[in-house]
């Protein structure tokens, strides 16, 4: 007779559970779900106390939720029967159980929240540590957006599933087992009949999740495309406006946006079907119990009381099944996300073996028969031989694509040679630890990278312990003192969006200052002053003279004025050296360098 109260609590679940499939989490299929799942479990291993506690609390709350309705129905029976004597103790007991259940749910929420955050924090941390130790070649060859989305979207999905679904999973399974046991104990045939609804539910869920997955994946793809279009059009806004492409851009965007909406509507409609259909199934199971139960009562095989118990239990039974079937999709998404995270974790890191150099670095660099190709078969560097003496200033010149930057990539071990050997002070750089190799080299790259931090922190990036005097000195030598003085709060000015508000030339000056402040044994400038005017550049070069006295420097530039006072100029073409010598020697030779020189200084042929 107390089924009314039970109906209610299942409605509560429905009201909440309905968010489940409609939440918009894309259901993705993992390739090797089993292995990934086991690996995901590893993350819980060190949280075992927390998991144990959570399981205990869930058990308490499940037991309460099974016992309390029983007491409630007893109270109702008393009222119906008109026996009011022992009502107060019954109600008190009921109150205690409900309170206990409430408190247990509260603790359960708290525990699963901290569990999920601890696990995800560790997972993100592992992922980040991996990202900073990945070789440059991996990062060059993968979409940055994709790497980023693993850190945010995939980790977030896992976090959501753990915090929202873990305890539902626990309590669902517990309730299911408990209820099933009680039901079997009451009547085996009636239980089996009830199970027909389970079959229906499972079959339906399978079919619907198949379609859901298809449309969710498609929607996620289109969402990514919308993302990409906005990003590209906004980043390239200067070109879009300059070429009057706004309306074309809007047209392209509209197409994608409309497609997204169409797919989104289908996906959500399918998702929203779950609730009403499950509701229908659960009513179906009620009718089965009623019809067959009445038949069995007439047979005399069960009593009337059993039916009323079964009505409650069949309700209690269908709730976790609904929940579990909804969880199924979410868990799959989480596992797919975990798989994407693990696939990065499984990439091999940079080689960390190698020794510290025996003596202080002198800066003698030698390339011996070095071959290299980014793509197998397309050689970028072939049989490259070069010896750079300590303390010399060496310049690399040559047309775009002649392999100058590649030489730097190899020396820094951003990439590894295919064959041949590079040595520093006579030691193969592969035998040196990456840390000691890179510590001895200061580099300014073609594409200036600044960080969203203060100007001071950017300058002292490689040498955070630098004193104010040292910073001032480096800023003066690199001529970025003017840039810093022009900033509203000097060194403490925060460079928003990684210094997007600085001009190209100003960014380069800051990057040069950064390299100077690291006091490197070897300094590499790769087109580092291309956007700096020649007079400022001259100041920097004069400062470099003092700064780099006795140290090796390697300069790549197109401008002859940048390189003409180098101790040795290397002219490169198609990955090998065609000429070497000083400025004067090379001019006298009237070869490639001479021709380059003439185009620059004689002006264009008219």
């Amino acid at each position: 007779m107390s089924q009314t109260a039970k109906v209610t609590s299942s409605t509560i679940q429905q009201g909440v559970g309905r968010r489940g499939p409609g939440m918009g989490a894309p259901v993705q299929k993992a390739k090797n779900a089993g292995a990934t799942f086991r690996r995901l479990l590893q993350y819980f291993r060190s949280e075992l106390p927390l998991v144990g506690l959570l399981a205990a609390v869930v058990t308490v709350s499940v037991v309460c939720s099974v016992v309390a309705p029983g007491i409630q129905s007893k109270a109702v029976d008393r009222i119906v029967a008109g026996i009011f004597g022992d009502l107060t103790p019954i109600l008190t007991a009921m109150l205690i159980f409900y309170l206990a259940q409430g408190v247990a749910t509260l603790i359960q929420g708290y525990l699963s929240a901290s569990l999920s955050q601890r696990v995800v924090r560790r997972m993100r941390s592992d992922l980040f540590r991996k990202i900073v130790s990945l070789p440059v070649s991996y990062i060059d060859n993968h979409s940055h957006g994709d790497i980023m989305s693993r850190m945010t979207n995939d980790a977030e999905n896992i976090s959501n599933v753990i915090s929202q679904s873990l305890s539902s999973l626990f309590s669902g399974v517990l309730t299911l087992i408990g209820t099933l046991t009680v039901m079997l104990w009451y009547s085996v045939p009636l239980t089996l009949l009830c199970c027909t609804t389970i079959v229906l539910t499972v079959v339906f869920t399978r079919i619907i999740t198949k379609y859901m997955r298809k449309y969710y994946v498609q929607r996620q793809k289109l969402l990514g495309k919308v993302n990409g279009t906005v990003e590209e059009m906004v980043t390239n806004t200067r070109t879009v406006t300059a070429y009057n492409q706004q309306s074309d851009a809007v047209e392209t965007f509209t197409e994608t946006s409309d497609a997204l909406t169409r797919t989104g509507i289908i996906a959500e409609i399918i998702g929203n079907m779950m609730g009403p259909v499950m509701n229908m199934f659960s009513n179906f199971s009620f009718i089965i119990v009623a019809v067959f139960g009445a038949q069995f009562v007439l047979n005399g095989s069960i009593s009337v009381g059993v039916i009323s118990a079964f009505i409650i239990y069949s309700k209690q039974f269908s709730r976790p099944i609904n929940e579990l079937s909804q969880l199924y999709g979410q868990i799959q998404t989480a596992i797919a996300g975990a798989e994407r995270i693990f696939s990065i974790l499984d990439e091999s890191s940079e080689d960390t073996s190698g020794q510290e150099p025996a003596q202080p670095v002198r800066g003698v660099i030698e390339f011996k028969h070095v071959d290299f190709s980014y793509v197998p078969g397309a050689k970028v560097i072939s049989d490259f031989n070069l010896k750079i003496e300590s303390g010399k200033k060496i310049a690399l010149v040559g047309s775009t694509g002649s392999g100058k930057t590649t030489i730097i990539n190899l020396l820094m071990r951003f990439y590894e040679t295919d064959s041949g050997q590079i040595t520093l002070d006579g030691v193969d750089i592969r035998d040196l630890s990456l840390r000691s190799l890179r510590d001895s080299i200061g580099i300014v790259l073609q594409d200036t990278v600044l960080f969203s931090d203060t100007a001071g922190a950017n300058l002292a990036y490689a040498n955070p312990s630098a004193t104010r005097e040292e910073m001032d000195a480096a800023a003066r030598s690199s001529n970025c003192d003017g840039v810093i003085a022009a900033l509203p709060q000097g060194y403490d000015t925060y460079l928003a969006s990684a210094g997007a508000n600085l001009s190209q030339g100003q960014r380069q000056l800051l990057a040069i200052g950064r390299a100077f402040l690291s006091y490197p044994h070897i300094l590499i400038l790769d087109e580092a002053t291309s956007s700096v005017d020649t007079r400022t550049e001259k100041h920097i070069q004069d400062a470099m003279h003092t700064l780099m006295a006795g140290r090796t420097s390697l300069i790549i530039a197109h401008r002859i004025s940048t390189i003409q006072d180098a101790d040795q100029i290397i002219v490169m073409d198609h990955g090998s050296i065609v000429e070497t010598g000083t400025h004067r020697e090379l001019l006298a030779r009237k070869g490639d360098y001479y021709r380059l020189y003439m185009t620059q200084f004689a002006g264009q042929q008219t």
Binding site: G102, T235, I265, A496, D533
Partner: protein, 579 residues
């Protein structure tokens, strides 16, 4: 934001109507159940013998009704989605249209990342909010109002219980929402921070590695990660109060109803069956309130998103068509005049250009040279109106650029930017950006002049080779040459190179300038450069120094009259002067 919903009001109405049907059936169905239990199974009116015929007939009735309810539910979902998603789509498209009209300064102020999140996340949030309101509001109002009504009609003392529980529930909901509300925006900021650190480490991997800063970066990440986790945990813990407290209140009310009800039954004021019904109704009321709490949660999130979208929609493009959009009074010629132009970037107050005067005759070449941050890029940005002057005027073909239609003006000016911007389509599409109707011959001619034809032909699929994300598959010099081809193909009257050849080697650069002179003689050209050789032969050269023109004339005259220019030249011809 509401005006976007107007278009789809009928869909929302249909969704609500079907929802009303579904909920009504939900509310009616317990009665059939009770009928089956009381008269069918327990056989209350047949001395306790089950009535299978009644069960079957009522069961079938119930099944049909439930089926109808299910259909209503599905249809309500269909219309809700049609309404909310079409609404979201309109919103998204309008935002994008608005963004496309932004000036640079406005785009920079919002930042790319934030615009992308607004267009995706925030639109989705607002869309969810609309769907929730349509479905959830109707549902919980029906539960709430229907339940209260039925309960009060039954017995007034039950009403007292409801009156006691509702404030408790409201208190719970109010407290949690009040506490979590500010946390949502904090959460977003924390997430942005984690994103930023990862993004910088991926994009700047070489610098991090070169300066061996992996440990510092990891520390930076750990602190961002820790802050994110702390905030997220606070939100989750606060939210976890919502349901248990409501459940406790609900069950308290049930106990109270049983207690009070027992007394009323004893007094003969109500029938025992009414007590059971009262339990159902009070659960429905509280259920309705619980849903309301959920809706409020979506609402707070949705409102924050709606605000962010409104910021975009309410931003009026600062650079708009002029009053005389009919265009130029003169035929295209290509003359440019700057009169007493001063400029400071919006919101900075420091002048970057002071009182600049320049006159460029049609078909001539102007070279601009000067120190880093002397205002070269700023100056050329004023001509196609990427920014508007603070003082003075810029004229193209004799008309103030501010009075022209933007399309008109910009179709006369082709700019090659300092940093080449490529799109992830094919090389062909990148070059034909400004002129989609260009023939193959025209395309090739432009690429040839830009010295790009040779390397493009060597690409695996020639002109149809796709360009990778951020143009990474091409070298810096190749990217610049594609951008130059694009400008040349367009054939505007004015061609501006903003340090556009910095990554080209000297020989290629020389060939490019030669081709320009030969193939595009009628164009007015403005060339910003670092190398004297790039501009030496220009008809006039303007020397910029700290935002002022300190010299203007030919190479020879400047060598004689302009000390700054002489200085620049000698810095580049260091040894050559003596040689």
């Amino acid at each position: 934001m509401l005006k976007y919903l107007k278009k789809y009001w009928y869909l929302g109405l249909l969704a609500s109507l079907f929802m009303v049907c579904e909920v009504s059936i939900d509310l009616y169905q317990p009665r059939l159940m009770a009928e089956i239990v009381n008269n069918g199974i327990l056989g209350l009116d047949r001395d306790g013998t089950p009535d299978v015929a009644l069960i079957v007939s009522t069961g079938i009735r119930m099944l049909l009704i439930v089926l109808a309810g299910g259909c209503c539910g599905i249809l309500s979902g269909v219309f809700t989605n049609l309404c909310a998603q079409n609404y979201g789509n309109d919103l998204r498209k309008d935002c994008f249209r608005r963004i496309m009209g932004f000036s640079y300064e406005q785009t920079d102020r919002f930042s790319t990342g934030s615009l992308v999140t607004r267009m995706t996340n925030d639109v989705t949030q607002v869309q969810n909010m609309v769907a929730q309101i349509i479905r959830g509001m109707v549902r919980c109002m029906m539960f709430f109002v229907g339940g209260s009504f039925a309960l009060l009609r039954m017995d007034l003392s039950f009403g007292v219980i409801v009156a006691c529980t509702i404030p408790l529930v409201l208190l719970d909901v109010g407290f949690v929402l009040w506490k979590t509300n500010p946390l949502f925006s904090l959460l977003q900021t924390r997430l942005d921070r984690v994103n930023a650190v990862v993004q910088e480490n991926v994009a700047g991997a070489r610098v991090v590695k070169a300066f061996v800063q992996e440990d510092t970066e990891t520390e930076r990440f750990e602190s961002a990660n820790g802050q994110l986790v702390d905030t997220q945990l606070r939100v989750l813990v606060l939210l976890s109060w919502l349901r248990p407290v409501m459940n406790i209140v609900l069950n308290l009310a049930v106990v109270a109803i049983l207690y009070v009800g027992a007394g009323r039954v004893q007094a003969g004021a109500v029938a025992p069956g009414s007590v059971m019904a009262a339990i159902t109704y009070i659960s429905q009321i509280l259920n309705g309130m619980m849903m309301l709490a959920m809706i409020f949660q979506t609402l707070t999130r949705g409102r924050a998103s709606a605000r962010r979208l409104r910021e975009v929609l309410d931003t009026v493009p600062s650079i708009r068509d002029g009053d005389a959009p009919d265009g130029f009074s003169q035929a295209p010629g290509g003359s440019i005049r700057l009169r007493h132009v001063s400029f400071s970037y919006p919101g900075t107050g420091t002048e970057v250009l002071h009182d600049v005067d320049l006159d460029v005759a049609p078909g001539t070449t102007l070279g601009i040279i000067g120190a880093t941050a002397s205002g070269k890029t700023t100056l050329v940005n004023l001509i196609p109106r990427f920014y508007d002057v603070t003082d003075g005027a810029v004229e193209v073909d004799g008309v103030d650029v501010r009075s022209l239609g933007l399309r008109d003006l910009r179709s006369r000016v082709s700019v090659v930017l300092q940093k080449s911007e490529l799109f992830s389509t094919t090389i062909r599409d990148n070059i034909a950006l400004g002129r989609r109707d260009a023939t193959d011959e025209e395309l090739r001619a432009a690429a040839k002049a830009a010295q790009a034809d040779e390397f493009i032909s060597r690409q695996p699929e020639g002109y149809d080779t796709p360009v990778a994300e951020r143009g990474m598959s091409l070298s810096g010099g190749q990217r610049q040459r594609v951008a130059i081809s694009r400008a040349l193909l367009r054939r505007g009257e004015i061609l501006i190179f903003d340090d556009a050849t910095s990554a080209l080697d000297l020989r290629t650069e020389a060939a490019l300038y030669e081709a320009l002179k030969r193939d595009y003689p009628g164009l007015t050209k403005i060339i910003v450069a670092q190398r004297v050789a790039s501009i030496k032969d220009a008809d006039q050269i303007a020397v910029l120094d700290r935002g002022r023109i300190v010299g203007c004339g030919t190479h020879e005259s400047l060598l004689q009259n302009c000390p700054v220019y002489r200085d620049i030249v000698s810095s580049q011809l260091r040894e050559e002067v003596g040689a």
